[in-house]
Amino acid sequence: MKIPRRLVSWWERLTRWAEWIANFLRNYFLLLVGSILVLGSSVLKWVQFPISHNLSGIKFSLLHDPGIAAHISPFSVGALGVAILAAALIFWRKNYALLALAAAFLLMLWTIVPTQIAFRESSMLRRLSFELQASPEVNVFAKDFLLQNYGTPELVPKRLILYTAWGRLLAAWSFLRLGWYLFGIGAFLVACYCIGKLPSAKLSTAVTLLCLPLGALVILLIPPAIGQHYYSTGLLAKTEGHNQEAITDFRRAMRWDSWHAGDVDLYATIGQLQKQAGIDFNSPERHISRAVEFRDANLFEAAMFEFGRAAEAGGALAETARREATLTRVNYGVALYRAGAVGSAVTNWQQAMAEDPNEIFALTFLVRGYYDIGRYQAGITTANRLIDLTRDHIYTVADVYSMVGDCYAKLGDDGNARKYYNLSLTSDPILNYWALTGLAGK
């Protein structure tokens, strides 16, 4: 059979391209894979939140805590990483030393992420650990008061040591996910490529470039390390009965580490020490100390009142007191719900959400509360808001879909009820008995 000449020429052209691609791959393999990893990782999950939605690289801002409704930020680690890599590839691809410098910057960005969560934006770690604490409570509520979805809830880290700087660093690291790891691997591959291409002094260049991420890490670790020192000496002074010294050390720890400045237990400890030393009778810390005692005794209204008094002081303490007051109100709502006062519970949850919209775990309770008191439409609206905020967590979202299905079923809108049960089942098909029985009957 005679092969047409055009086909032969195409085949030859194809072969030449293939050879070119082969050479290109051989020469730039590491750079290519590294760049793809850095680019791809920026849209993947970096931080896993137990309840609210996860954070991707391009939403992980270095300037502030992205909060529960994170947006794409030009100063995010992902965006900065992509920009640095793109600039390096466009302008410095022939200058391997500069390209290596860009890789060192990428590694630095990668390194500072856990310290950013643990120390620079400690509110993020606080939210992470709080959501971690709240999720079993939400699960218990679901088990006690909702129909059962027997599927397995999401796996999240279970036990964090938050009273030491090292423990907080490990805690922050435990929430990091695939995106962060891939970004690091990508940056490392790019660095390997550049160092491999350097004509000489590879080892010394590598060590020099390594100083950048390590230096950044050390700089970020120094303040919390000092804070940790004061915190430890404060605890020791407290044990030895030196209350005044303990208070001074605790205050110094708060100045050096914002984690301590937002720690309600530390304020309560200071309040207790003040009380035992017989000083500062009306200090905000003593109000917090009393509030914590009331809260532990399930005297929620008294606790909220004391937190309110403490919040008049201003500063980080006031912010902490307000946050704790809101949490106490949510718990008060749950306690009222358990006691059968569903209307009062709903009022408290509504108020808590008005005070601090970040406490989204209260929305789960609120949806159920609306359902119980027959405000189905309000339940649906709240549930849709909750779905938007927790969309990454199929188990939670499936339950919320089922709750919406229940609301529609009560409203007689069978079409929408079926739609939401189906959504629930699609979201979490494993042992989702609630949605299954919603569709098929018990």
């Binding site: 999720s135 999401e154 036990r159 009273y163 490990l170 044990t239 009965g241 005794a297 008995y433």
Partner: protein, 1087 residues
Amino acid sequence: MERRTLREENFTPQALRWSWILVIFCGLLLGYYFLRTYGQPLHRQYQLDFGAAKWIEPPEKKAPEGYFRKEVYLSTLPEQAWIEIAGSDNFGLFVNGRTLGDVTSEKSYITGIYDMKHALHIGTNVIAVSVSRTSYPAPAQMLLRAKITESGGAVKTILSDETWRAANRTGIVIGTEDWKSRYVEDELWPKARLSPLNNERVPLRWVDTNPRLLQLPPIGHWIMSENASPQSVFSTSIRAEDDKQETWIQVASSSGALDLAVNGHLITVASTAVSGSKTLPHLAAQATPTPTAKPGEAAAAESQPPPQKGSPFTLATLSAYDISYWIKRGSNSIVAAVRSDSVPAALFANGFTVGTDGNVQRFSSSTAWWMGAEPEVEHTGPNPHPIEIGKDGMAPWGYLPQELARPLDRSGLASFFKSWTIVLLTLGLVVAIWLIVSAFVAGWRNEPLANAMSRDALLHGPVAVGLLFLWLPNFDPRFPDEWSFHPVITVGALAVLLLVRLAHLFVDSWTPAATRSTVHRTKEKANWELHKNRAREVVSTRLRLPQLFEIPFARLLPYLILIVILFLGFSLRYHNLGDMSFDHDEMGLVSKSNGVFKLGFPYTMFAGQVRWITTYEAVPYPLAVSGKIFGYSEWSMRLPSCLMATMCIGVIGLMTRRLFDWRTGLFAAFVYACLPLNIRWGQNAFYLSQCQLMAMLTLWFFYEAIRLRPFHRKFLTAAAVAFCLSYLSWEGTGFILPALFLGLFAVRWGEWWWLKQFHLYRCLFFMGAVVVAQYCSRMIAGEPYLQVGSGLSNLTGPSLFLLAPGYQPMFYVDKLLLSENHVFFTLMILVGLPFCWKHLGFRYVIVLLATFFVLHTNFLAALSPRYCYYFQPLVIIGGVAATIMLYDRVLALARQAGDSGIGRVAAHATGLGLLILLFVQSNESVMKEYLLSATGDTPEMMTRMGTYRYDYRGAARFVMDHARSGDVILPGIPHVFDYYAGMNGNYFLDTLFSSKVPYDQTFDEPRFADKFSGLPVIRNVTELRNVVTRSGRAWVVFAPYASFEKLSSPAVLDYIHQNGKTEFESYRAKVMLIQAAQSAPTVAQSP
């Protein structure tokens, strides 16, 4: 001088680099030993002493589950009561219904010691123990010793012996009372029998708690300040003979708020950590809700201490801390601060130090303590000492419950830096000694420094491997965790490292030439040649194999060894092949294989229609052939798997030989032949052995095909056929295709000519056609059935699992790479990566392994340890190859370092030591490395030898023997029940739709039905109750038991547990009998 120059010329920078690597590795390892011995010792562990107690077991012949009871009468409340227990694989310890301990460790004798004084009360008390065994075939065994000291001083010692009551099931008396209840009549239970274990030395597991904490008689007083201040600081000092001397302290306070510091280090703060609450908040006026019982547990815990109402005093607990880490030689200060709002601050403390000779020095809170943080300092106050307010047991706290061994967290930046400082200092010391000794030896022997350095570095190899060996027992449950971190071993290793340098003295006298002449002389003395010729003659004449010796023996030998390994592997797999019951996975394939000789393909019948197999299509054919020849039995059905697993040994040996060399191939085959995971799956009729064999053949043939240019067509065709067979054995092996593609890239890096290989496309098309056809078959078969429920068949193909919330990136790291027998292979792969990467075969293996790992982790939305089984041999091959290449490198270093006998011996010792280490940790023959896994002692089902999966056979035969006409049977897995009982069940329980159930329109009243046996499905407790009421008696087969509990509705479980009685128990299987219209007596009666 000329000789010296030549040697220097031979020496390469690479050799010097290897010398550094050896020394640094040895230094780091020794540094870690120093860290764990002196810097940060691991928590101490203890062996319990059971005195005259005897191992007991239930009297029944077959008793994998054992329930033991003993009644104890007390006339007063105890002031001290402890109990220590050991059980085979597992035990649950209950005192008066209160759970004190529930621990499991498969294939070991697990132990525990507990304080039980608060579970006891005046009158009759019941000590109950359940033991659930999974290791096969011995029965459940238990050993127990307890001591109760009553308030008056009367002492009761309880030992396990024949007076205990024991049974192999709980339901041996009529009634709804729980078996642990004191209302169950003890006399109705049979007596326990003594176990044969009493004649053996049983290796018990070690415990974390010093038993003296509970066993020493309580001493000490509650102390408080003279003015009964609500805030007080108490202190004392204790003397220690040595740094980090073993010291324990137990403390309790009147308010619960207690800070404890030892030598300026805070102890108590370390125990607080963030963890989620499992209870919901409630209003202050509400009583604390009682915890809900587990489904089916009718009897709640008895005699819980009532909460103190209205009292300002909180319940005090004696918390024990191991403070050895902070103890220094000489005087040590202990400071305890107690704070309270409403009650005087009071402290109770006692503790002890253990001297080097084992003697115990006790200390306790008393008036000898000091007020304030500085003990033994002149105090200016009115009374520098506290006052004693009473002994342990005084009101309002009573005898204090003891909380054992609260873990202390020593993490922190300071600990981190301290650890590294110790390790790096040791490393510095080792390197310094190396350099000094090398310089000295080089000067003394007038040889190049590089030679002396390399030879000296080689001497570090055996020491490092020895340290690795000594590390292994720490992961064996028969040894304590810190077994190897003792001064004798650590200092001994350093001493050996120093003394081994004396070998430099023999460099000249011990040369290869001298060794060769010694060997030659020995041969002559032993008439070696004569014996060799005689042996050859015997083989040639008597065995009539003269032609065999036309092949040079050196070439023949590896094949002979491989055959021996094959026989060894086969015997290990064949042993007890048919002993265990089929599991549900095996039975599914066995039942489908019946159709092969009827319609020509495997199928089952559902609703009167043929339902052909849609997964594991190729697996039932060998089963059918075996069934046709030998008849259907466990043995015959597992025989194909056993044979294929044995063939896989050969394939691994030959493949590895082709990728590397004979040594690697034979050793890999040997390791694979003895690895428990592979032996266990070789004894199972499920798809895994066949799939693994086909997958390995595919990988091998493909490698053979792409080694040559142009590709070897026959091997390519064979690889395509093998791929199709592996794909039809399990669809997950579809990932082989992308892995082969990347493997091709790795082997033919930078080459592109293979794109023109037309046969490659032909094979690809053929494989694609098979994949598409299988997928279509699956879709077509599923289409006519309306199905409800969850199941793996939801998974139709690869997906972006990495974006799903259930994504677990570490799953296959934990289950494959870092599971107990694979850890060292993974480590060796990681170690070997930098220096073996250039080897084509190694690169091929690693690229395949990495690709499989990435694809399974990220793109298969189902996780199971068995999914990685088909590429598991790659871990073995990679690890063995890296080790042998490392061995070669060390040997090459010895040659470069003057080729002295000393260097060679050291290199051989290092290499052989590594290989032996690899083998020893890969199976249970010498060490049981159960704690080596990343996830600790949590084995998967098939990872250990001699463990039973599910005893469906026993459960089914029991029902068959005891069911009466008219009884209703609800089997857990209907088709397995049908096979073993020889009769059908009546209904299938699927109350949470945890199994997929199709809709069967052929019933009188159309409903969902079980897909294997077509039994109608019971979907809720109402339907179950109706069925039971109509029949009178219903048998429920709980097998597999754990998933039945997990995957059934709580209402149904409650109904079954409240109305049923356990008639039979075996490995992960129970049979319960529910009798309708049964009166529910609250007190047990004799039958």
